[in-house]
């Protein structure tokens, strides 16, 4: 099957403007701007069933339709803060198929009437940002960005903006704060960005992968897109596969592909031929899934993964084999969240600090069963008490780790 998003794997040099144009590049943007009304573009995206690829899976077209048309100007922001441990797909898109992403961003901007769009990249993507700046300049030169595009009244500018090392800025309202030159701390919602976003103006924020779908949807139609994937989750998804597999990497597959296919057909199985012990389907923010044959044969879409007591999220699938101790895993994820908590909400700031002390003690062998019970208690008390999802996510591996792998914690406190 040829790729929809990772098309550079089929077409060499797709990251050059001439090759991208030769392969249908910017035809969708031109069609949208010169032949379609903005709401018609939104309708096509809505009908395609495209859902946000950043983790939440919110219907993209519906989000666009929420833009407040009584308040101007509008902005579109691409979330390129890719920071979830286990996720590395947006970087590949931006490095190797940048124009398809930029075209999708441009189409979205037209659909919601934005004349300025920003790309917020994590600070570590310094080289990626410089590369995108070059590509944006090439688009301006070629007349795909700037004033009076395709002879119409529509104008658009795209700018990159580098973050500086803060996982929380992947949360959309923290990202907006950061883009406004403040500390990246989430806002109280509602109001949501489509009514109150960047500089207090209506703003649409989508993930890089979400935008990258859009030119293909516009070019081939909503029905074509829906013909892939499942009824719940249409289309294709990039699965970032990491951990103890032989061939980690990005794999673009239709929703509904099973864990077994991803791990054994694409990832070439587990290192040293060992069995899979657990899967984290949404990076460090995941619940831990206990793996058996039934789990391996589960199709990956948003609704079905939920039946396993986990979320598909950004589809960053971390594979743990039977040599991995879950108390070690939980210690790792809590070190991450302790470091990345922005400090705004007390349960998250304090909870992660104390959870880190506990996981460290348990993993070092100095802990007791009482520490394990206390850890579970702290995690459960944090749930539902924070402004953004970070506080919630930090508890997922802790709670599911202790409840689903109690033997690992018993062993750790006995040793």
């Amino acid at each position: 099957m040829s790729h929809v998003l990772l098309r550079h794997r089929d077409i060499p040099d797709l990251n050059t403007l001439s090759v991208y144009k030769k392969n249908g590049g910017f035809a969708a943007f031109k069609k949208a701007v010169s032949k379609m009304q903005p709401n018609e573009v939104t309708d096509v995206v809505k009908n395609s069933g495209l859902r946000g690829r950043g983790g939440a899976g919110f219907p993209t077209g519906m989000k666009w339709s929420f833009i407040d048309n009584k308040n101007w100007p509008h902005y579109v922001v691409a979330n390129a803060d890719e920071s979830e441990p286990g996720t590395f797909k947006d970087r590949e898109i931006m490095e190797s198929n940048p124009f398809q992403f930029l075209e999708g961003l441009a189409i979205a901007s037209y659909a919601v009437g934005a004349t300025v769009a920003y790309i917020y990249l994590r600070g570590e993507f310094w080289q990626v940002a410089a590369f995108l700046d070059e590509k944006i300049a090439e688009m301006e030169e070629a007349g795909f960005l700037g004033d009076n595009l395709f002879g119409t009244e529509y104008s658009l500018k795209i700018f990159t903006h580098l973050g500086a090392g803060a996982y929380i800025c992947g949360e959309e309202t923290a990202l907006l704060e950061s883009l406004e030159g403040k500390r990246g701390q989430p806002r109280v919602r509602p109001p949501f960005p489509p009514s109150y976003g960047l500089y207090g103006k209506p703003t649409i924020i989508n993930n890089v992968e979400t935008f990258t779908n859009v030119p293909m949807i516009l070019a081939n139609g909503a029905d074509w897109y829906k013909s892939m994937g499942t009824a719940d989750s249409s289309g294709v998804k990039i699965f970032s596969l990491s951990g103890r597999v032989r061939k980690p990497g990005n794999y673009e597959l239709p929703f509904g592909t099973t864990f077994r296919q991803l791990i054994y057909e694409y990832g070439m199985g587990v290192q040293d031929g060992r069995p899979v012990k657990a899967i984290m389907p949404a990076g460090a923010s995941s619940s831990l899934i206990v793996v058996d044959d039934k789990v391996l044969d589960t199709p990956m879409d948003y609704a079905t993964v939920r039946t396993l007591g986990a979320d598909l999220g950004s589809a960053s699938v971390i594979v743990l084999d039977d040599t991995v101790d879950i108390d070690w895993v939980v210690n790792k994820t809590i070190h991450f969240f302790k470091h990345e908590s922005c400090g705004k909400c007390t349960p998250c700031r304090e909870g992660n600090y104390w959870m880190r002390n506990l996981t460290e003690r348990i993993h070092s062998g100095a802990g007791s069963q009482g520490d394990v019970d206390l850890l579970l208690n702290v995690a459960k008390q944090m749930q539902g008490k924070c402004l953004c999802a970070l506080g919630e996510f930090s508890t997922m591996a802790v709670v599911t780790g202790i409840e689903r792998f109690p033997q690992d914690f018993k062993k750790a406190v006995k040793a």
Partner: protein, 169 residues
């Protein structure tokens, strides 16, 4: 020399990205500019940025404190930031970092005697399939180094040392 005297062209370009009434948005790019030469943001630069953007020095300092890629203290010319998060650790990142420490004779957070490299352990860098990996943060920005071994890292450090020596001559 003040920041705006040193980089007038760059600052003008950066400010042009944002609406004039929201120029505070430029605080992050200006901080990168400020730490380009010394590898950290000194007090004078924070004052300059506050003046350029019409915000207080405390507000600038709060940004420096919040984000991990800004530094208010001098370190080695290159910060070597090894990812030891879960996916990298599952592919040997902790062992890699330990061996690197042994080879360099320094601990995490310390700087080599010649002041060239500070070794740090950092959170996920979105290169989980290419571990062990690290980034170098230095005068020329941030660069990724992937599929690393201790040998290849020592070669990189030797190359940086050589470039440093030639640059000084």
């Amino acid at each position: 020399m003040s920041l705006d005297k040193k980089y007038p062209k760059e600052i003008k370009q950066l400010l042009a990205k944002y609406p004039p009434e929201h120029k505070r948005s430029a605080v992050m790019p200006l901080l990168y500019l400020a730490q380009r030469e010394e590898g950290y943001v000194n007090k004078e630069a924070m004052q300059d940025i506050a003046r350029i953007l019409d915000i207080t020095e405390t507000e600038v300092a709060s940004i420096v404190g919040f984000y991990s890629l800004y530094h208010d203290k001098k370190a080695g010319k290159y910060r070597m930031q090894v990812c030891t998060d879960l996916p990298c650790a599952l592919r040997g990142a902790d062992e890699f970092l330990n061996n690197l420490c042994e080879n360099l004779g320094i601990k995490v957070g310390e700087t080599t005697e010649d002041g060239l490299v500070t070794l740090e352990s950092v959170m996920c860098l979105a290169a989980c399939d290419r571990a062990p990996m690290f980034q170098t943060q230095g005068p020329d920005g941030i660069k990724y180094h992937e599929y690393m071994t201790v040998d290849r890292t020592m070669e990189l450090i030797d190359a940086l040392k050589k470039a440093e020596k030639e640059g000084k001559e």
